[in-house]
């Protein structure tokens, strides 16, 4: 017989061990699917690992894929700290992508274009996030539902744009016109796709950590998230904190879209995001809402994504396994989080 017993304290090493345990559990659980697909489990994971982190090119590819998830992971982590349930990072990312594509297509000096793309993209994401936050603060509308549904609104607005006014009249493809060549983010390592946006993402994580841990706004976000009643009693304007958090969160998600337009695709198309906004939720949970943890968590998911494609080619296991791993990782982490508050105790015969 086992039972759960409330913990009085949580050991510090737990914070590091939990995500690792969750990831290990995920890989073990998913190995069953690989076996069902008729491939060797060790071989398949081996291909995944070498294709995603095996050589320097693979590492740059993984980092390029991690960058948008670092941004969406940060967006979700900061929002969830305030208990603003932003499930809308996907839509905010798309809004950032569209807005930055508009700006990037205007001829101007490259550095100015990149700066404006970032600013306008962040602003677009922030405005989208402001909608569910305002609805919650003013009318008590559930932010999970409104931010989630808004994703579809933004997605179909994007589709209307690229099927309509932006449609390539020459080829007939539903894609936006490309941004100016001068607005393309510089590549950092010759022969790879490692672009400036990746560095910005890596720098954003410690900045977000600093914001949460060391500023009064971060303090207010933490307190509001943990106990809004005590926050209000303590003189914190809870509504203002929620709105500020939403702006910040949306801006970060918008930057994910900016990076994809400026550094990877140079235009907007319907599949510009393979669900990076939703992956951000997994990333943030694996990171236990710590901005510094977002970077390794995003790299893990990116490695799974790039690795899964190579594994599919080499072993015939469908690449959809990457989605399964993502989903399983989230569930495993949620279960693992239970053990921060409870411990499993054996209940044997009493004396």
């Amino acid at each position: 017989m086992f039972r759960l017993e409330a913990r009085t304290s949580t050991p510090a090493w737990f914070n590091l061990a939990l995500p690792l345990i969750a990831i290990a559990a995920t890989l073990i659980l998913c190995s069953g699917l690989i076996a069902v697909a008729g491939a060797g489990v060790v071989e398949a994971y081996g291909v995944m690992l070498s294709a995603s982190l095996g050589d320097s090119y693979a590492i740059t590819e993984t980092l390029v894929r991690a960058a948008p998830m670092i941004f969406t992971g940060l967006a979700v982590a900061i929002a969830f700290r305030a208990k603003f349930w932003n499930i809308g990072a996907e839509g905010q990312l798309l809004a950032g992508a569209v807005a930055s594509c508009f700006v990037g297509a205007i001829p101007m000096p490259g550095y100015l274009a990149m700066l404006l793309m970032a600013l306008v993209g962040a602003a677009a994401g922030a405005l989208v996030a402001l909608v569910p936050a305002t609805l919650r603060v003013k009318f008590k509308v559930d932010d999970v539902v409104s931010s989630l549904l808004l994703n579809s609104v933004i997605y179909y607005a994007l589709m209307a744009l690229i099927e309509g006014p932006w449609k390539d009249t020459f080829s007939g493809y539903p894609i936006s016109p490309p941004i100016e060549d001068s607005a393309n983010f510089p590549v950092l390592v010759e022969g790879t796709r490692l672009h400036l946006g990746v560095i910005v993402a890596l720098v954003a994580a410690p900045l977000c950590w600093f914001l949460i841990a060391r500023t009064t706004l971060g303090f207010r976000i933490r307190v509001t998230g943990e106990n809004p009643e005590a926050a209000r009693y303590g003189g914190i304007n809870v509504r203002r904190v929620l709105l500020s958090t939403a702006l910040l969160s949306g801006a970060l998600a918008g930057l994910a879209g900016v990076g994809e337009v400026g550094g990877v695709h140079f235009q907007v198309m319907s599949d510009i995001s393979p669900g990076y906004g939703y992956s951000g939720i997994v990333v943030a949970m694996l990171a236990r809402l710590n901005p510094l943890g977002v970077v390794p968590a995003a790299i893990f998911l990116a490695a799974v994504m790039t690795g899964a494609e190579a594994m599919s080619r080499a072993t015939g296991v469908p690449a959809f396994l990457s989605d399964v791993i993502q989903g399983t990782a989230l569930l495993a982490m949620l279960v693992a989080l239970l053990f921060t508050a409870y411990r499993v105790r054996r209940v044997g015969a009493l004396s």
Partner: protein, 503 residues
């Protein structure tokens, strides 16, 4: 007496290095009311949680009517005839009284047996004088009625031993009498009752026998509580004599807080109607009244959580304009909320965060939006030392502290900034004698330094001991004010029922 209903033998339970219970023996006979006394952290709740199956003991055994039983969870405990009424109720607010009783009770062929439940409810009501309207939703019940429902729930499930964890902490004095009558009637019909409390007068009035715990061990047993003085029992609990604090005479100065015809609306509780009162420097004003007569609204207005519909308030001569916590704080108001855990502190964050929360934006703890972690930590450490707050350090999760230590922390965070006027609600609710004594001394020391203090409370003995004047609230109004010297429990009790007008 006959064979014990429940017997606990040599119960030991440790949490890490802390022995919460050590070789505790305890027994309850049918028809007996046993008092379980002890300061916070003495191990009363742990012991009862072991009995109720929430914790597995490290050593020791539990016997029900002489037979050893293994209790792993509350279902085992209920099956053994043990029912518990927790301090925090476990009720579904949207369901009715009857539905709450039937939760978890298997019905007939998948259907809920309402008629059977109703009959049982009536029977329990007749037996013990515990009646409730079965069709009322729990959200419509007063706290006292919710507690009655919890007791009925335990009896409904066939409890022969009832554990009540500080049941009077949430009750008004008038409700306490009703509870005691019901408990006596249940005992007379052969039920065993364990009554946990640290209010000595209640234990002396109600129980047949007492077990006193201190630091996890049995510090003493009292066979005739009614014949034992409170001082003797307090000594057993604390391990030393308790001397009531002395109140020096003081001459109140100028008014530091004045309410002028304040009325409120849009509040969950009873609204205020034309409330005027004032507190002067160096004066303690007690606010008495049966719970739910506008005390909540009064505390909320004064502490900036509720803007009044009409009326004016001044602090140290300056008119209050926005009624926001920040404005009031800046005017020199100190505030200690009624509900420490939900309103006062952030239980999941470090204690230090809660201690600086109201003043995080001030120069003391931050500059230009950047926190000063060193100053925050130093402040928390200094207050922990000055107020003897028992905790591993400022980074301890606030929720891990005991009630008394939390209250000290809240007191420290306000008094460190030398308020001109202090508003506190139920300052010692749930605290043990030692901690309550500490809080009282701090209030009297602040009074001596010229602070004006408003104490909203239901414990009349406490108000009488502290207050220079006592105002009584009734249905949202001030029913009357008496000077501390003229006030007696009887007189206040009469005013609280609305019987006596302005005195």
């Amino acid at each position: 007496m006959s064979a014990p209903l429940i017997e606990m033998r040599g119960i030991t339970k440790s949490f890490g290095a802390v022995k919460a219970n050590e070789a505790v023996d305890l027994s309850v006979a049918p028809g007996e009311i046993l008092g379980l006394l002890g300061e916070n952290g003495a191990g009363k709740t742990t012991l009862m949680n072991v009995l109720f199956g929430a914790y597995a003991p490290d050593a020791g055994e539990i016997l029900v009517e002489g037979r050893p039983v293994a209790i792993h969870n509350s279902a085992d405990a209920l099956a053994a005839g043990i029912g518990m009424v927790h301090q925090h109720f476990h009720l579904a607010p949207r369901l009715t009284v009857l539905e709450n009783l039937l939760i978890g009770i298997p019905g007939k062929s998948g259907r809920i047996d309402r008629a059977g439940g109703l009959a049982r409810l009536k029977e329990i009501g007749r037996q013990h004088g515990l009646s409730l309207d079965p069709n009322l939703p729990v959200s419509a019940l007063s706290v006292g009625e919710q507690q009655r429902l919890e007791i009925i729930k335990a009896l409904f499930r066939g409890a022969r031993l009832l554990i009540l964890d500080e049941p009077t902490a949430v009750l008004a004095p008038s409700e306490v009498d009703g509870l005691f009558a019901a408990l006596r009637s249940m005992a007379a019909q052969g039920l065993g009752i364990i009554f946990i409390s640290h209010k000595l007068n209640e234990v002396r009035a109600l129980t047949h026998r007492c077990v006193v715990l201190r630091l996890g061990k049995v510090a003493g047993r009292v066979d005739q509580p009614a014949q034992t003085t409170s001082a003797e029992m307090a000594k057993l609990m604390c391990g030393h004599e308790i001397v009531p604090p002395t109140r020096e005479a003081s001459t109140p100065g100028a008014s530091v807080l004045a309410l002028d015809n304040i009325s409120t609306s849009g509040h969950a509780g009873t609204p205020l109607r034309d409330v005027s009162l004032s507190v002067r420097s160096g004066e303690i004003l007690g606010i008495a009244g049966v719970s739910g007569n506008g005390q909540r609204a009064l505390a909320d207005v004064i502490s900036g959580m509720l803007a009044p519909r009409a009326g004016a308030m001044t602090i140290a001569g300056k008119a209050v304009e926005q009624f926001s916590p920040r404005e009031l704080q800046a005017l020199g108001l100190g505030r200690i909320p009624e509900d420490r855990m939900t309103t006062g502190l952030v239980t999941n964050l470090p204690l230090a965060d809660s201690m600086v929360l109201p003043r995080i934006g001030t120069e003391a703890f931050s500059r230009k939006g950047l926190l000063n972690p060193g100053a925050i930590r130093a402040f928390a450490e200094a207050q922990i030392r000055a107020y003897d707050i028992r905790c591993p350090g400022p980074m301890t999760r606030a929720g891990a502290l005991s009630g008394g230590n939390l209250q000290k922390a809240l007191l420290a965070r306000e008094l460190a900034f030398d308020p001109k006027v202090l508003i506190v609600s139920q300052p010692t609710r749930g605290l043990d004698i030692g901690a309550a004594r500490f809080i009282h001394e701090k209030f009297l020391a602040m009074r001596a330094r010229g602070c004006g203090i408003i104490v909203i409370g239901e414990d009349l003995e406490e108000l009488l001991m502290l207050s220079d004047r006592i105002a009584v609230m009734y249905e949202g109004r001030i029913a009357g004010t008496v000077s501390g010297a003229d006030a007696t429990v009887a007189r206040l009790g009469l005013m609280m029922t609305g019987a006596e007008g302005h005195a």
